[in-house]
């Protein structure tokens, strides 16, 4: 069945739910609204009339001989940051939904497979030890080195956890969970050691990186992260029906003809790519991957054909909204985004725990 329609004509739903089309339309509208709202927010005051002028200049519909500062601020600073927010939220939301489908548990989170802690460890290595090995790196190349190392670190740790989870010719999700706990703890210990041997300056840099922020998003980074997240979404959405069947259990799914091992491999790879790219560029932004799929399921049901794209859309809207607050609430300074999402996410997580306590 290639269509997404789930409701039978005339069927009476005892479970109150939005239809897939309504849910995804609502999600797209939320992203649009959040984007428009966030584009008007910022420490640098840009009146709506000025914003309109900037947009006209950008598409070449107005004379742009004079580069107004508003134009530079919006095009070079605010717009790439907004787009990075969309990419980050979409990547984290999609990855969260994939992990929850794979682990068959609504409390799963992309951090389980070690991407975030691997990226953090690699970033710490770069910040603390990089200055010993490569002290004269020009500053811009140095910041790209940080992004590259963090991305590689995330992938490497995920590959390690994936390898540890192989048993009896297949990937055991229970093993992956335990391996993830162990490797995450090891990465944390490594991080602690690097904290210890770092200088004051390196320590501050590392702590700031860990808190997560969309600040410093530039067009090159947006293009890179955006294309990786787009590829991840394309690959991930194709797994929707397989993940539905996996909800019956891996054995049953295999009997239905689902390529279970390949699905697991692809889901882990897509998660590592998306979350690795986002974390490398923005540091650690938590709870989006946990909360977005949960809300989509509450509103539209657990069918992954809705949950996967819906989580990407809702994740993007959430990050845009949170970042809009983060960069205006203490202006001209800025709150790290990871702190804000944690403040919002932890109470929500606890509320979810209360709801699921009978099933955990």
């Amino acid at each position: 069945m290639s269509g997404v329609a789930v409701a039978l004509p005339g069927a009476r739903w005892t479970v109150g739910r939005l239809s897939p089309r309504a849910a995804l339309t609502m999600g797209a509208m939320l992203v649009l609204l959040a984007f428009v709202w966030a584009s008007t927010q910022g420490a640098y005051a840009i009146a709506p009339a000025q914003l309109w002028q900037v947009l006209l200049q950008a598409v070449g519909a107005a004379p742009s001989a004079e580069q107004a500062p508003e134009y530079l601020v919006f095009i070079n600073i605010r717009l790439p940051r907004l787009l990075m927010g969309v990419a980050a939220g979409a990547g984290l939301g999609l990855a969260g939904a994939l992990m929850q489908g794979l682990f068959r548990n609504p409390l799963a989170d992309p951090g389980l497979i070690g991407v975030s802690s691997g990226a953090a460890l690699a970033a710490a290595l770069t910040i603390v030890l990089g200055s010993y090995w490569l002290p004269d790196l020009p500053r811009t190349l140095g910041s790209w080195a940080l992004v590259g190392m963090a991305f590689g670190g995330g992938l490497l740790v995920t590959a390690l956890i994936y390898a540890l989870a192989q048993a009896d010719g297949g990937t055991r999700m229970g093993l992956m969970l335990l391996a993830g706990v162990a490797v995450n703890a090891l990465a944390l210990a490594g991080l602690g050691y690097l904290n210890f041997i770092s200088t004051d300056e390196q320590l501050r840099n590392l702590q700031m990186w860990l808190l997560g922020s969309l600040g410093g998003a530039r067009w090159s980074a947006v293009a890179l992260v955006g294309s990786i997240v787009a590829v991840a979404c394309g690959l991930g959405l194709a797994l929707a029906r397989s993940l539905n069947a996996i909800a019956l259990g891996e054995a049953q799914a295999a009997l239905l003809g689902v390529p279970v091992e390949r699905t697991k491999r692809l889901a882990v790879l897509v998660t590592a790519l998306a979350v690795g790219a986002v974390t490398a560029a923005t540091g650690i932004i938590g709870f989006i991957g946990l909360v977005a799929p949960h809300w989509v399921r509450l509103v539209a049901g657990p069918d992954h054909r809705v949950v996967l794209p819906g989580s990407a859309l809702l994740g993007a809207a959430l990050v845009l909204a949170a970042d809009g607050v983060a960069r205006t609430i203490v202006q001209p300074a800025e709150l790290p985004l990871g702190v804000l999402t944690a403040f919002i996410g932890v109470p929500l997580f606890l509320a979810m725990l209360r709801q699921f306590r009978s099933k955990v």
Binding site: G42, A43, Y44, A45, A58, G60, S64, Q67, P69, L72, V73, I75, N76, I77, R78, P80, R139, T140, L141, G142, S143, F196, S198, T199, D200, E201, R204, N205, M208, S213, G215, G216, R218, W219, S220, R327, V330, Q331, P332, A333, E334, P336
Partner: protein, 294 residues
């Protein structure tokens, strides 16, 4: 390196605009100074102090969180922690120039600020007297007050020479140890830190030579380091609840400093700021250490 323009047309526009900037800034700096003084954002307590000393506080539109002296600086707009700046936040103050040390960051944000036409000048921080001279010169240049800067420089140099003479005249070199914080094991300053430089300037020796940077020290290591005088910031002593509470820490009981309760506490930005108050700080530190270990 990547060029972060939106598309070809915009990039060409930006390049055209930016190519004009050097011409503008060189010729226009003097004109601008005379016409309208540059709006300055200062990142770092020492640099902010220099701004006030040069009489340029009217040009100061924003400072970072470490700029707390003089008291008026606390009432300027705060752009946040110097290592985690916000590009839009900085630009919203419409500065013409940003001065800071090389610790300011993240680098991408500073690049974005530069590409918006703001002059960004960073001073290398290496814990020497040169650092102070560089800070004075840079602020003078950026604020268009080179004359005042040269005068201030001369006065500070004279103070510095005088202090160094006083320090050289004393023969006793007490063993000193700077304690940063007291959570669990005390964090102490090894070599390469601002505190280490201060200790040496003030004619003492750092009891710790085995490592660089700030590290936690066990009680036994503290005993074998055998400092004769302990240094701390007044904020640090306050955080512990006063001098009496400070001396109750068990790891201090084994040190020579404990017997005479030899503690010198000075305000943090005065002691370690490496700004115009450095000669005065070194003099005070020297005097108090000599007195307390006599």
């Amino acid at each position: 390196m990547w060029h972060d323009g939106l598309n070809d047309a915009v990039r060409r526009q930006l390049l055209r605009g930016m190519a004009a900037l050097p011409l503008l800034s060189a010729a226009g700096a003097r004109r601008a100074a005379a016409a309208s003084p540059a709006r300055i954002v200062s990142l770092g307590g020492a640099l902010t102090e220099v701004v006030y000393l040069l009489g340029a506080q009217g040009q100061l539109v924003g400072t970072d969180t470490t700029s707390l002296f003089p008291e008026a600086a606390q009432r300027t707009a705060k752009v946040g922690y110097m290592r985690q700046l916000s590009a839009e936040g900085l630009l919203s103050l419409k500065p013409d120039a940003v001065v800071g040390t090389t610790e300011a960051g993240p680098p991408v944000v500073l690049d974005q600020v530069r590409s918006a036409g703001v002059r960004v000048e960073l001073v290398q921080a290496d814990h020497t007297w040169d650092e102070v001279q560089r800070k004075v010169a840079t602020v003078g240049r950026v604020a268009g007050r080179e004359r005042e800067a040269r005068a201030l420089q001369a006065s500070l140099d004279a103070q510095w020479v005088a202090v160094q003479k006083v320090v050289a005249a004393t023969t006793r070199r007490p063993r000193a140890l700077f304690i940063l914080s007291h959570s669990g094991s005390p964090m102490v300053a090894g070599t390469g830190t601002a505190a280490d430089a201060l200790i040496r300037f003030a004619g003492a020796t750092n009891a710790i030579t085995q490592f660089a940077g700030y590290r936690p020290l066990t009680a036994e290591a503290m005993a074998s380091a055998a400092p004769e005088v302990l240094l701390n910031s007044t904020q640090g002593i306050e955080a512990l609840g006063g001098e009496a509470a400070f001396w109750q820490r068990p790891e201090l009981a084994l040190t020579p400093a404990f017997r005479r309760k030899a503690l010198v506490a000075m305000e943090a930005s005065h002691l370690l700021g490496f700004g115009p108050r450095l000669p005065a700080a070194v003099r005070e530190l020297h005097t108090r250490m000599q007195a307390i270990t006599a």
